[in-house]
């Protein structure tokens, strides 16, 4: 309750200028392992057109204890899954007998800039691909392996590994060109009220971030920290699984993880975080 991002502090900042805001929560800077600086606050991207002035990572909204867990890889339980994926990266799978490393080498180098630009248009396939779709395309087309289930176990671990090596890079997904139509579809979904509670994403995460919804401290719903280790279920959670949880909470029938609707929404929500650092695997409650 004393965290600066409760709404009162935001109003104070808006009225009194930026200095008070900075002073209200001056400890809130995220440095991982004492060296990796993470951008948790940035000017909103132009396409938001003033709907938000500043974008904040979900990390800013969490309690001190939860924030601290993400500041050291030993304390971050999400890194357990990253370690699992490191093994999988070097393990040949599928009929071609190839591992990820056979084509991509050391993920620390080859995957550094990847997480920041996904979801991304794939010209050859003529489709927009989330990182998970790209991983499965690699598996089925190059490795002769089975596709992994969207937003589950091994897939989230691999996504977390690719995120972890890209931590600190700035999210910069493209929203124009071939993806523009899908991006607009995602934007429409974001602002569409759904469910018996008649809520859109924007009602909570744009108009009421910083406020409490019952006991939950609403963030801006940024997805730069995904996959996220949630303390409530003690495992990695994917973006689209989280979307499903949110839509369910409006008491609506949800789309499924992997559906075209959620892929479009993932692109749009990712683009709202253009300017924040890749943070996954983050720790949230």
């Amino acid at each position: 309750m004393t965290k600066a991002l409760l709404k009162g502090a935001i109003y104070a900042a808006a009225l009194g200028g930026f200095a008070q805001f900075a002073a209200a929560d001056e400890d809130a800077s995220l440095v991982i392992n004492g060296e990796l600086e993470i951008v948790t606050e940035a000017p909103a991207p132009a396409h938001l057109d003033g709907a938000l002035r500043t974008i904040y990572s979900g990390w800013v909204f969490r309690s001190d204890e939860t924030q601290t867990m993400q500041m050291d890889d030993f304390d971050n339980p999400g890194m357990i899954f990253v370690e699992e994926a490191m093994v999988a990266w070097n393990t040949p799978q599928g009929t071609e007998g190839k591992s990820c490393a056979d084509c991509h080498g050391d993920a620390e180098d080859s995957m550094r800039e990847v997480r920041a630009v996904y979801p991304k248009w794939n010209d050859d396939a003529g489709e927009l691909r989330t990182l998970q779709m790209q991983i499965n395309a690699c598996r089925t087309e190059q490795m002769g392996a089975d596709a992994l289930k969207t937003d589950a176990g091994a897939m989230l671990s691999m996504e977390a590994y690719i995120s972890a090596v890209g931590r600190g890079t700035i999210v910069n997904v493209a929203i124009d060109g071939p993806v523009q139509e899908i991006w607009e579809q995602g934007r429409d979904l974001y602002y569409e009220r759904t469910g018996q509670l008649d809520l859109s994403c924007a009602n909570c995460h744009e108009q009421n971030y910083g406020n409490l919804i019952r006991a939950d401290h609403l963030s801006q719903g940024q997805i730069n920290g995904f996959p996220t280790y949630r303390l409530k279920n003690a495992k990695l959670n994917g973006v689209q699984g989280r979307f499903k949880g949110c839509v369910r909470d409006t008491m609506a029938e949800t789309y499924s993880p992997g559906s075209p609707e959620f892929v479009a929404l993932e692109l749009y929500v990712a683009s709202r975080g253009n300017g924040l650092s890749v943070e996954g695997p983050s720790v949230r409650n």
């Binding site: 030993f74 304390d75 339980p77 357990i80 370690e83 699992e84 003690a234 495992k235």
Partner: protein, 109 residues
């Protein structure tokens, strides 16, 4: 049987004689409580780490009895006084009889 059980510890490489150091330990483990049921309604058998110990040069530093309510991937952070160079031995005991060990050497600075 628990899969993918990996013990991890962090101990400073060196310390001054008599210095108090902080040790962190975590073991990846599902810590299945035995209270839950699977989708068919059958109880899922209990499978937890039930004991954790740390010893320095054979002398006990900490002993922990773990109970089913402890959450997955148990993490312990504790302090120890280092009188001399030596080795920390960490041991985790699993319900299924498995014993996981890890050791870390520490030198005097």
């Amino acid at each position: 049987m628990a899969d993918n059980v990996t013990p991890r510890v962090r101990v400073p490489r060196s310390a001054a004689a008599g210095e108090t150091i902080t040790i962190k330990s975590m073991i990846s483990h599902p810590m299945e409580s035995g209270q839950r049921k699977d989708s068919d309604g059958n109880p899922i058998p209990r499978s937890i780490i039930n004991r954790f110990t740390c010893a320095f040069n054979g002398q006990s530093v900490i002993e922990v009895a773990l109970e089913p309510a402890i959450s997955t991937n148990p993490f312990f952070e504790f302090e120890a006084v280092v009188p001399e160079a030596g080795t920390f031995e960490f041991t985790w005991y699993d319900d299924d009889g498995s014993v996981y060990t890890e050791s870390k050497d520490i030198a005097l600075a």
